[in-house]
Amino acid sequence: MKLGYYPGCTLKTKAANLEKAAMASLDHLGVEYKELSRWNCCGAVFSLTDDDLIHQVAPVRNLIRAAQEDCDTIVTICSQCYNTLARANKLVRDDEEKRDTLNRFMDEEPDYAGEVEVVHYLSLLRDQVGWEKLREAVTNPLDGLKVAPFYGCTLVRPEEVAIDGVDQEILEGFIAALGAEPATFSAARECCGSYQMIAHPEEGMNRAAKVIGAANRSEADALILSCPMCEYNLGTRQGDVVAAHDGLSRVPTYYFTQLLGVALGLDSELCRLDLNGPAAQELLVDKKFIAAATV
């Protein structure tokens, strides 16, 4: 397998804390990959309009770029990028007529018929590295840390691109492999509020409050995510959400890759905890997973 890494725009700006530890962890685990040298925005949201092929051009062009770099598989970390690329890939594979239209439009690019496999980073960890090997690689187990796994929408919907069935619990397996305790968390597969946080703030805040409330009830110490939009709604905006709803308390949020980096004993500066706010750093210091001096 020749593995390409498709970063996605947000990981290069706001969500550096999603990317850095993830790639360092792959190096640490001995997984070979090559970051794609040419790529564009994934398209961000998969268009649900049946004949809206222009919005499939961006994801398909990325898949063509991956094929041009001889990658047979690409891995993404952002849930949204994963969802958009995987669904566009499926569309190209399944619908001959739309594939033909897209290839004609692409014009100067080589034809593409879905040759590249799109996988999410969590699937790669589970299926290529394996939880057992990951557990063995953990030198700084997150003992006594109770973690609520937040899947959100795009890792597990729709079913044909879901990285996990309802009963398989990939994030729970991941948390356990790091030596932490997965919290039973009723809002794990709810919506974070998505773009409604901006378009219809009240509804967006209510959705986020539902997730924070469930995390509180699960008595989790932390909430982990794989999506920059979830992080905005549940992390960056958490103070506003908690202030606007009675009975909620704050819970530190992390990208799952940050806890991976900490558990593998990587330099904690790589994990960019500075982007998560002080509470996230303090919790890991209190638990003695990282040294205070490095945060």
């Binding site: 970063p7 996605g8 725009c9 564009n40 925005c41 051009v57």
Partner: protein, 250 residues
């Protein structure tokens, strides 16, 4: 009288081209710009340097029997038989104003000035139309991910002709965005040339004043003598050559 007969010894063969839909016979060796002048057009605008760098003479054309759009600079592109062409010397495009002194060299600066950046659907029409073969979509993508350095480098050959903007379904003015990126890269991201700053400081503090005053006091003949007798770096000099006098340089 048949001009072709008269000049067949010396004149190039003529070919038919279509300028804005009208047929003209022009010598096959001409550029589009010369062919238009040969056909009676007089340039007031839409023509600048005639050297392929100013971006004033962007031209779109089609070839007979071919659906594709081709582009070139009128001053650089040689005519072809049955070519259908028109120049697009200017294309109206949104150019945002900003204060360079206070502008941060970050993704957010570009996003705020040009929020339409996020209308890009990666159709690649911009790259396909660029007469300079700039990978326009690649620099637009770099801007979206906030990599101003990459955007500046990829867009370096842009001559601001505006054809990318003319084809953009997101109605963006890609080339103006790239110019912001290049300015921020050059002025605020790329490392400063320390030796330049130092020498400017030396000049300001008067290091060369005495040498200059001495030169100003010389007669023309003295100046010529000093100039011709100046120490020069040998053509086949050793790697470690240094001048005998540094003329006041530290």
């Amino acid at each position: 009288m048949d001009t072709a007969t008269l000049t067949e010894e010396v004149a190039a063969k003529t070919i038919p081209i279509y300028i804005m839909g009208k047929r003209y016979e022009v010598p096959e060796t001409l550029t589009i710009m010369k062919a238009m002048e040969h056909s009676g057009y007089q340039y007031i605008r839409g023509c600048g340097c005639r050297g392929g760098i100013c971006g004033a003479c962007a031209t779109v054309f089609r070839r007979a029997g071919d659906y594709k759009i081709y582009t070139g600079l009128a001053c650089q592109t040689v005519v072809e038989p049955e070519m259908y062409l028109t120049q697009i010397p200017f294309y109206p495009a949104n150019r945002a104003s900003y204060d360079f002194e206070t502008a941060e060299p970050t993704a957010e600066t570009i996003y705020k000035l040009y929020p339409e950046l996020f209308r890009c659907v990666a159709c690649n029409s911009c790259t396909k139309v660029c007469p300079m073969d700039v990978e326009v979509l690649d620099y637009v993508s770099a801007l979206k991910r906030g990599d101003l350095t990459a955007a500046a480098e990829i867009s370096f050959d842009c001559i601001q002709c505006g054809l990318c903007a003319s084809r953009c379904m997101g109605e963006m003015a890609q080339y103006h965005m790239a110019q912001v990126a290049r300015r921020l890269q050059g002025g605020k991201i790329a490392p400063k040339a320390e030796h330049l700053e130092k020498i400017c400081g030396d000049i300001d503090s008067g290091t060369f004043n005495d040498v200059l005053e001495a030169a100003k006091a010389m007669t023309e003949d003295e100046l010529k003598k000093v100039y011709t007798e100046r120490e020069m770096e040998p053509h086949m000099g050793a790697d470690e050559w240094t001048p005998a006098s540094n003329h006041g340089l530290a």
